[in-house]
């Protein structure tokens, strides 16, 4: 198993960008910057989805996350930053230490007990070009009909809830 192939190298580069961006999300002082970092990591993830030959989902990722969710985030962040300039950045306290300890533990445990075996599995077994729009749509409306309905219900609830939250009491 040689890891020196262009695919792997490009993957490593993408992964490094993603990890750096995610770190930026956590450690940027300025929420707008962390939002930007998040956008970057999302876009990188979309590219990674492409490499997993899930173009549909990659594009959806961009449309949904980069296109809608992050714009919402930026909107809110800007509103908030207009109000209070002082940013809430992490102070080094017992939480930081404890949390990082836990995180490291998580990485260690999962990484060593669960992930190492997968280093051997290199060849993707799913047929190439799986999950085209047609296939996804069929699956979505046949096999996953009930979850789909449930999700739609959830979205409806979300819409109503957000409208209620945002609505000013009529006087």
């Amino acid at each position: 198993m040689n890891l020196i192939n262009p695919n792997f190298i490009s993957f490593v580069i993408l992964a490094l960008i993603a990890v750096g961006a995610s770190l930026g999300v956590v450690f940027c002082k300025n929420p707008v910057r962390s939002a930007i970092c998040l956008v970057i990591s999302f876009c990188v993830l979309a590219v990674l989805y492409f490499t997993l030959s899930a173009e549909m989902l990659g594009i959806t990722q961009i449309v949904v996350y980069a296109g809608a969710i992050m714009v919402l985030f930026l909107f809110v962040v800007m509103l908030l930053t207009t109000a209070n300039q002082e940013s809430l950045n992490p102070k080094l306290d017992w939480r930081l230490i404890l949390a990082s300890l836990f995180a490291v533990g998580l990485i260690a445990v999962i990484g060593f007990r669960a992930l190492l075996p997968f280093n051997q599995t290199i060849t993707p077994r799913a047929p190439d070009g799986y999950g085209g729009p047609q296939e996804l749509g069929m699956a979505l409306f046949t096999r996953f009909g009930y979850p789909f309905e449930a999700i739609s219900l959830l979205l409806m609830v979300g819409i109503v809830g957000s409208i209620l939250l945002a609505k000013r009491r009529v006087r």
Partner: protein, 115 residues
Amino acid sequence: MNGVPLGGYLLLGLLMFAIGVLGVVLRRSPVVIFMCIELMLNAANLTFLSFARYLPSLRSDDPAMLSRQAVSGEMMVIFVMAIAAAEVAVGLGIIMAIFRLRDKVDVDDLNVLRG
């Protein structure tokens, strides 16, 4: 993408998840906490997709079966995205509502529910 071990994707997902957890625990601004939650969700998505692509634990080699399983993995991702959208809509709404009450939003100040 050939030549990349599944473990690589999983490790990346794991790292992003851990970073998200760190952010949730560390940051005090609710918006950033939300962002970190999104990060965790995306890490989970990545894991789903990579498993869907590699299908390590599937015994059969029938391509129809394989693609079926793979598609189920993608379904999960779609559902997670929808849930994330709903969650963000409501969560940001809540933040805005809080923000209307007090002009500085710090999670540690929102301890009205202290027992």
